[in-house]
């Protein structure tokens, strides 16, 4: 059974290389998605109502998080309308934490959301579903809480 065994060997070797880079050499942005890509991915999923896809981006998933996500999506929708562009922007990185922001462009305006992230198992995870940085949504967002 030469074939399958060799395949397993390659998988193991590749995992070893990835593991070495991420855990050994502390790579945080190359072989793992960097903070801004994680935040961007989260918002892409959220704004397209793919809540199941959005959840894994979060570090903690307390009870009621599903509702919370839906609330936030509605708040974004109320503030700037249908979102058609989501762009992550890197922030700072130090130790096991980082920050990033995401610029949203919607029908009726723009907004920016800020995120804090923490490293879990080598990957970046969001500590919260985001806070408003600028844009007309800030007030609406606060009241929707």
């Amino acid at each position: 059974m030469k074939g399958p065994l060799s395949v397993v060997a390659i998988i193991a070797a590749a995992l070893a290389v990835a593991g070495l880079a991420v855990f050994g050499l502390d790579d945080e942005t190359t072989l793992v998605p960097p903070p801004e890509v994680v935040a961007e991915g989260f918002l892409r999923a959220l704004t397209t109502r793919r809540y199941e896809q959005a959840l894994p981006f979060l570090d903690e998933r307390p009870a009621g998080i599903g509702q919370e996500l839906r609330r936030r999506r509605k708040a974004i929708d109320r503030a700037i309308g249908t979102v058609h562009d989501v762009r992550g922007e890197p922030g700072r990185r130090s130790g096991g934490t980082a920050s990033a922001s995401v610029r949203l462009r919607g029908e009726r305006g723009e907004a920016r959301l800020r995120f804090d992230l923490v490293r879990r198992h080598g990957e970046w995870r969001l500590t919260s579903p985001g806070t408003w940085d600028e844009g007309p949504a800030a007030r609406a967002f606060v009241t929707s809480h």
Partner: protein, 167 residues
């Protein structure tokens, strides 16, 4: 800096895929069966996700690696068991015999008459000359194979002696 990272990911993807393909053996992917094609598409799609860092390298490795591993195991298994091979890949189906289409086979493979004609035209056999075909088969890979009647084939060199010289 960003470009450098893209380059590293691209290199990682390339090396891993190359390694997996070589480890799985040439026969597994080069057969050109419908499934091989779809598999290749999927693997390529996954490289895209890694390139733009939408997926961590570890998960990418497990995904492409598992697909390749299962594919290799299936390949080894079908090489050893004819029954499994027939179950998974099917059997060649004769669709034309002695110049006449086999209605049940043609229907089973859902081959439209115009497709049958095309299959034979590509082999250089026009509709009028279907009588020359001893058997046309749709092979497991989907490709047609056409075998002519012996009288429609060119004579072979070993039959030289029987040829009457031109008057």
């Amino acid at each position: 800096m960003e470009l450098c990272q893209v380059a590293v990911r691209a290199l990682f993807a390339y090396v891993v895929l190359l390694g997996l393909l070589r480890a799985s053996g040439k026969r597994t992917v080069a057969q050109g069966t419908p499934f091989d094609f779809v598999l290749a598409l999927v693997l390529g799609d996954m490289v895209d996700d890694l390139l733009w860092a939408e997926v961590p390298a570890g998960r990418f490795t497990v995904a492409v690696g598992t697909l390749t591993l299962v594919h290799t195991l299936v390949s080894v298994a079908t090489a050893r068991s004819e029954r499994l091979d027939r179950l998974l890949a099917g059997e060649p189906v004769p669709v034309l015999e002695r110049g006449r289409p086999r209605a049940d086979a043609v229907r089973g493979e859902r081959i439209h008459p115009s497709e049958l004609e095309r299959m034979l035209r590509v082999e250089g056999v026009p509709r009028e000359a279907w009588a020359e075909v001893r058997r046309a088969t749709v092979e497991v890979s989907g490709h047609p194979a056409v075998a002519r009647e012996p009288w429609a084939e060119p004579p072979q060199r070993r039959e030289r002696a029987r040829v009457r010289p031109a008057p």
